[in-house]
Structures are given as C-alpha cells and as structure tokens.
Symmetry: C2
Subunit: 330 residues, 2 copies
Amino acid sequence: MDMNHTVTAKDVAKLAGVSQSSVSRVYFEGAKVSEKTRLKVLAAAKQLGYRPNEFARSLITNRTRIIGLVMKGVDNPFYPQVLTRFTAAFKALGFSVLFVHTNNEELEAEDIEILLNYNVAGVIITDATMSLNVANEFKENKIPLVFFNRKLQTDDFYSVSCNNLDAGRKVAMYLLEKGVTDMVYISGNEDTSTSRERQRGFFEVLESRQIPYTKYASNYTYEGGYQTALKAIRSGHVPAAFFVANDIMALGTVDALKQQGVKIPEETKVIGFDDIEMADWPSYQLTTWRQPVEKMIHFTTSYLMDEIAAYTGKSGKVEVDGALIERLTT
Amino acid sequence: MDMNHTVTAKDVAKLAGVSQSSVSRVYFEGAKVSEKTRLKVLAAAKQLGYRPNEFARSLITNRTRIIGLVMKGVDNPFYPQVLTRFTAAFKALGFSVLFVHTNNEELEAEDIEILLNYNVAGVIITDATMSLNVANEFKENKIPLVFFNRKLQTDDFYSVSCNNLDAGRKVAMYLLEKGVTDMVYISGNEDTSTSRERQRGFFEVLESRQIPYTKYASNYTYEGGYQTALKAIRSGHVPAAFFVANDIMALGTVDALKQQGVKIPEETKVIGFDDIEMADWPSYQLTTWRQPVEKMIHFTTSYLMDEIAAYTGKSGKVEVDGALIERLTT
DNA sequence: CTGAAAGCGCTTACAG
DNA sequence: CTGAAAGCGCTTACAG
C-alpha cells in the first residue's frame, strides 16, 4: 500500500479521524486509550501498513530495545548455543540483539563505541573482559552490563558464571574416587578467570590429598588440546588422568591420546568442561562438567531486565552450580 | 564530563562558539567545514564527551547503519564462522549487525518484523528462505536483501551461494576416477536448494555413466548422518562411497561406519561438503568440498553496499565455485 | 479519554 | 564556509 512515502502516525490519525496523540497511545505500552479509538486506529494502521518508527521513539524516550551482545571466540562450539539462546530469550522479552565480535580477551574502546552510539538498553560481554576505564563509560551512561562466563577482579560489576572453583574441586574428587594416582591439568588461556578458577579448585583438592600433578598451559582450542596432550606424554609416562579446561581442548586431547595408542579410559582418563554437543558424539563420549547454561542465561537476562526497568548499578558475582556428566572417557 | 544530562550538539556548539549546524557538519560525512571550525568543534566535543545520537541521525536521513543478519541452525559449525566474518566485514564498512535467529526453514512475518521496525539498511538471510509475501515487504521498503547459501525458485531476489550443481558433478567425477562402482548419497533437508542441487549434479553424472546409486534422506545434523549411515549398511552391503551433503553429517557417517568396523578409505570412501574446521581434525581427516566462504561473503557485502548507496532492487543468482579438499577418507 | 503543542537531537535547504 | 530555521516521527505534559 505505501508507495515511496513511509506511513506515519499522522497519516493513520487522519484516516482514523483521531489525533496523532491517540495513535501514539495505541502503540505506546502503558498509555490509556478507549477501546473505540484503539479499534479505529488499528484498522486504519492495518490499511496503510503503519509501523511505528523505532528511532523517533528512542529519540524521545531515550531508551532502546536493543541489547548489545559482545562475543569472543565463536570457534568454541559452546558459544553458538549461548548466542541463540540469548537471542531467543530477548526476543521473548521484546528486545533485539546487536551482535559485536571481538578477537581480544580485553575489549578495546572501539569495540564498544558502537554500543554507546546506539544507546543500547543493556550489554552482555561474553568470554572477555574490559578495562575499568572502558567499563565506566557504561556506568556513566547508566547502561546495565553483565559479564557472562567471566569474573572480574573488582567488585564493581555484575558477572554470571559457572561455579568454576567448586567444579574444579568436584572433578578432582570424582577422579580420586576412581582411584587415580597422578594427574595432568591442561589449562585454557591463563588470563581468563574460568581457567584460573577451575585450576585452583582442582589443585586445592589434589594438594590436600598429596596427589602429584603436572600443569600444562594451553589455549582453549582443539589444536591446543591436541598438541598439549602430545607434549604431556612425550616423556613416555602417561598420567592416570587428564582434566582439560574445556571440551574442545578435551576432544583434541582424546584424539592425540588415541593416535598414540593410549587406551581411554583403561590407561588414562579424560574429563572436559562445558558439555558441548560433540561431547556426546559416539566417537568421543566425553565425561565432562556441564555448564548450567540455561540458568546462567536466566540470571543474566533477569538482571538486565530489572536494571533496564530501574537502574541501580548493582554489582555482584553470580556463580551457578554445574554438574558432572559421566560418559566413557573416565 | 557529562552528569546525567546527555551531551548534545548544541552543548558542543556553545562551548566551541559555533552554530549547531557546524557541529553537525563535522560529524556528517561529506559535509564541508573549515579546518578551523573542525578543530574547535572536536576540541569542545572531546572535552564534553560528545557522541552523535544515531537515532536522531537516522530519523532524518531515513537510513541506518545496521544490517539485519538472519540465521538458522547455528548448530552447524559452518555458520559461526560465517557470522563472525560477516560481522568483521561490516564493522570495517562502518555497519553494525542486528542478529536474528529463527528455527524455521521459511521465515515468518514475526521473524522479520523487527528488521522493518528498525529500518535496517540491508538484510542477509542465511540458510533459510521466506515467502514472497514476506520478502516483498522488503522490496516495498527498498531494503536490499540477499539470500546467503540459498537459492529461490523465483528470479525476483538476489542470492549468493556455492555452485552446488557443479560441486555435485565434480564430486561424482572425482569418486569415479577413484574407481568407485556404487554410491550412496545422504541428503540434507530436502526443502533446501543446497541439498537438491548437490544431489542433482551428483546423480546427473552417475546416471550418464550408469553407476548404481542409492539415496537416503537426512537432515544436515550429525545425528542424522550417523543414523542414516547405519541404515544404509543395514542390509550388509557396504557401498563403495558415500557423498554426504554436509560435513557435520559426514562426520556422523564416518563415526557410524567406524563403529561398525568398516575401514575408511579401504572398504568405503566418504566425502562431505563445507570444509568446516573439524573436517581437518586428525581423527577425521575428511575429504570434502570447500565452500568459498570468503568470496561468498565478499559478493554479499558488495551487493549490499551498492544497493545501500543507490537502490536498484537488482536481482540475480551468484554462484561461486568451491574446491575439492582431499584428505584421508577417500 | 482526547487533542494541540512542545520538544527529543539531529540534518539540510536556504540565505548571506 | 557559516548560521537560523524548519522538520524527521514520535512521546508527553497540559488543558479540556
């Protein structure tokens, strides 16, 4: 119906025989209109193909219905599902997702400039951190912010993650129950809170039981897990178990061990972290620690919705318990 | 620093001692200002922390710098890389990505409503199609649209995909050269152009050489490939080769065959499609047809940029040649 | 409940 | 090159 000229509330008002204000009230949540005008307006709007202009709206309300979602390292199959679940959750809440991708563990000013320009309603930073300097810009603009799957050193922000410390401990205890006598920990990138805490909980238990262990630093990639596992058994000694800081590395570890003829779980055991889909594939059947993704997403979205409704700038560190998923590599 | 009150061009103008128009001209690409005013404005802007309001801007120009990216089925590891590459490409061009996710092969009105509300500058539909009805809404609003990795039946739109027909033929010829005598094709979802065309090219060659083949319908998932492969060898006869319509299914096929003790490539050969990262993993080393992702993205973005600069509504079907990547499953 | 009017923060002819 | 003024499409007090 509309030819070249975009249909405005004014056009609808004219056709419906009401004022532009009334048209606005029909589309603005919380505004009051009589049922009679509502019907007239909706009929006219339908006929003309009217659709409220989000920009004009945002200009006045100074609020948007856009959430900035910043992601890093989408090669890790853990994240695509996080992305789609967030998108679905926000869609249900009436929000859209502006997707920003970065390659750095620490976001830089330019990565987030766009979010400020669009005056997003809220921001989720996944799998990365940022300098206080940059993060404070959000505070100044009263834009709520959640670090997802990362904890910061400071107490000034809100973060949601798996209880990694506890998970590390439980993994250690599980392997000890299996009668394992020495272990290897393959870390993710060492500048991440996730890897550090999984390691801390794990080592804490091993040390208290005086179990020998070796640590190898890696980088959260399949290739990293593969090469690191090869390095770990180069001496000829195969440890009784590997705790690998995420699943994609654990799959690399499994493949490397298999290729070297090491039998799993007979000669050594492997346990990963995340519970990505591939962990359940028949060729791997990887025992792993499942991240409580649904709950993590729930805490993230409800914090954001609360803060969007009434900004408080509340900080906190939410840690959700995961669970051990036992398969065939232990 | 701004306290509570957002800094506007007016504030900057006052501090810089120029008009608001001049401030605007400094930030509006293509507008002319003297170097002298530019410097005064930039200094004042920096001091106040000014940042042009994108919404006010879009309201007037009736253009945005947002690209709507609609994705389906991000479980297929082919897509995360597509997403990040698109995001990087658009970032370099000064555009942001609004991410929309759908579960349906055919998008519904509500999936795209948001894109119209935000008056996006352009739209990419990945791995899905939409009814003409819905698609025409974009035409009416002069929003350029590209179907990525899907071809439509009609000639009314612009699509960019791999040359799937040619790929199917080349795969057949490659397997014939290997001396293969009978084959199985495992299809993806049958309502997708990708699966249909790969199949058509493949069968065309087999028929012309009178090579026997069997087709099994599957669904582009790992589990689908796994179960379908089991079904294909249930009779006890193992075909000389499998052409599987995408890599993730091919990995499932490989695992199923291995589990049944079928030796690859000695007893049968497997070839996939996409060349996802996992195809190169040591435990798979899957021979596959590589999709020319970089080129496909290039054609998509340059079409969109052209149409955004000057809308023509041009349609077309771009098909880019891929290449065979030979590994150890053939 | 409804309408007229002001104003959100910009861009853009139009004069000078 | 620059400024004053109009206007983009909405929301929102303010009267009635």
